[in-house]
Symmetry: C2
């Protein structure tokens, strides 16, 4: 597949003024590094809030756990979807209160549940009986929501069978919850990250409606649907805008629930922070592997293990910009480690100026989510990606 010529600036996201700031940083700081523009996160948050005013937003901390990102979102009124005791500790350290949190990971140890409970968290995801019993024992009186298994079709980063369970088991869990010291509160699902097929929400919402009705038959009134994440950031592949997602999702909800809309929770991560990131890297060198090969190789000082793990199987296609004239040469792009898996794009060819050479700065856009925190701690000796924030 061939990339469309990249047109700069992406004026909707990083402004020319901000890009000038980033270029100034590029000339003084050691590459690679990530710049996070807090103004874009603010804009994305307010936009989502504006389109779905009835929804409660729990930001998925794992997408970008930078302190300044979390502080900004807290100040804007966001709540948080927390994946581990380590994230919980970080939020508490920043002064974020437990009433703003839910423990969204269905995979948890007893002592993790107990720790969240002791710190004041009272809302838990679950998808199996063992976990439900543990919540009742170690977080008594808490509200729980049950995660439905979805198939993730249409998502660039699909969510497999690892999370959630079948509707018949969810129904059993609701029955079980009645007997325990927990409040069966709602349902959740996740259609897959960077989900470009809006219809996926329709299917899942219909399943929720069906389970809400079945629960009533056994005397349980569920009151909440957690729609998860899945709203896209702006990579190379086209996606609909947030307002379209919001309109459609509201329509699906109204179709099933009419005037009796449950409480709605959203867990956006990528869609809030993805657009806000620019990785500044450098070309190490370019090379031709054989005399008559039409493609050149371009090695960057960032790779799959330095924060770009979502390029695995070329899943996420980041917009990449080099500030030189021309887009006439196609390159295979690889990272700096001695690991042969550390190739970012080989099938999907990026056009760049044929004059690209070692030392050229490379700007990788839409890298604000699922990058820095994924960096390896010391693979091939390389340190984790540095991150800086601007704006806000």
């Amino acid at each position: 597949m061939k990339q469309k010529p990249y047109s700069f600036p992406l004026s909707e996201y990083i402004t020319q003024e901000k890009f000038n700031t980033i270029k100034k940083m590029a000339s003084s700081k050691k590459t690679p590094f990530l710049v996070i523009d807090l103004d874009i996160i603010k804009r994305n948050f307010m936009e989502l809030k504006g389109h779905l005013p009835f929804a409660k937003i729990h930001y998925a901390v794992k997408a970008n756990p930078h302190d300044n990102v979390l502080k900004l979102l807290y100040s804007l009124g966001s709540n948080f979807d927390v994946a581990s005791v380590y994230e919980l500790d970080q939020l508490l350290r920043l002064g974020i209160t437990p009433d703003r949190m839910l423990y969204g990971n269905t995979i948890k140890k007893k002592e993790n549940i107990q720790y969240f409970y002791e710190k004041g968290v009272r809302l838990f995801a679950t998808d199996c009986e063992t976990d439900l019993n543990n919540i009742a024992t170690f977080a008594p009186g808490s509200r729980v929501f049950f995660r439905l298994l979805t198939d993730g079709s249409g998502a660039d980063w699909p969510l497999s069978r690892k999370f959630g369970t079948h509707p018949d088991i969810v129904f059993d869990l609701i029955k079980q919850a009645k007997k325990l010291d927990v409040i069966p509160y709602g349902l959740s699902f996740h259609v897959g990250s960077q989900q470009r097929d809006i219809g996926q929400w329709d299917n899942a919402i219909s399943q929720c409606y069906y389970l809400f009705e079945s629960a009533k038959d056994i005397g349980v009134e569920l009151g909440m649907i957690n729609l998860g994440g899945g709203f896209p950031a702006h990579y190379n592949e086209p996606t609909a805008e947030t307002n379209i997602y919001a309109q459609e999702i509201e329509r699906f909800l109204r179709e099933d629930f009419g005037e009796n809309m449950p409480e709605i929770i959203l867990e956006p991560g990528r869609s809030l922070t993805g657009d806000a990131g620019v990785i500044v890297a450098e070309v190490i060198m370019t090379e031709k592997k054989a005399k008559h090969n039409p493609y050149k190789w371009m090695y960057l000082d960032i790779g799959m293990f330095g924060g770009m793990i979502e390029t695995i199987n070329e899943s996420i296609k980041y917009p990449i910009y080099i500030e030189k004239e021309g887009l006439e040469s196609e390159y295979i792009i690889a990272g700096p480690t001695c690991d042969s898996m550390d190739i970012l794009y080989e099938d999907y060819k990026y056009p760049f100026p044929s004059t690209t050479t070692g030392g050229d700065k490379v700007y990788i856009f839409t890298t604000g989510a699922y990058t820095q925190s994924y960096s390896s701690v010391y693979f091939n000796g390389f340190p984790p990606l540095e991150a800086y924030t601007i704006g806000g």
Copy 2:
């Protein structure tokens, strides 16, 4: 594919006494963590040295860069294959002298070459003209070896086209080197990590012989072949033992070079340290996703982003042991993060006791290479894998 029932102890590697030590650590330390048995690294090093006494061993630091591993190998007389300026700094900090090192990464910035040169390193890998020119400019008078492209067939962790170049380009580079202030010293290749087809070395050695002869025609006497790594560690899939590899490789060399054997360099990483590692982890919980599904899920507190990245595509199949009776249930094994890619084995089923439950300790063998240094810095908040050494 079904795993053969796992028979413990792996008496050749971790002794019962050492395993008792590890179990004691398991009862007092927070999981997950990696234990590295230095005695096994010593044994593997001495064995390889014994089988190929004429070869100079350059340990591939990236496989396991723990300080104690590097100090041990230095004391045993090992040399080092260095991938980055960060690894170089670490080795120097440990008092390892630059005459023991080669800069084995073909992907390097000018300033990296200069830094290695300033610190005293005089042996460099290369595979393209730009890099060769940079070495001549920034590391004048150094010896260089040219890396040949191999196809990596038969390797569990193949090395693709990222490294090395075609023989005709290698020949051009040798010609070019004659005109520059560098010494064209030898050739290198890498058959792929965990290479189970010994015949791959034969093909590559024959190519080297052909290039040695061609180089003579233009007045260049090459004197060294770097056979790279590729010797296996002991995972679930069977492999030949080191002595078989050594015998065969020596035979291939004699067939081509007879009495005029060049200097031989080896760059083992995985085969020295892989067997020496045991990851101690814990079962978070087990779960059935649907009423009539024959497989259960087992969630561990270590996963793909906590140091087990080589389970990607189920490439490396680690022996896994739970100290309970029975192997009657097959499990899908997944990690603790909210990332659905964080599944270790789904196609390849591991049998475990059906009584396996949250809190059970899990011992993952042959995890001494390409684990800890790959851990993500903070994904889902989880800290990098801790590592401890015993023995030595």
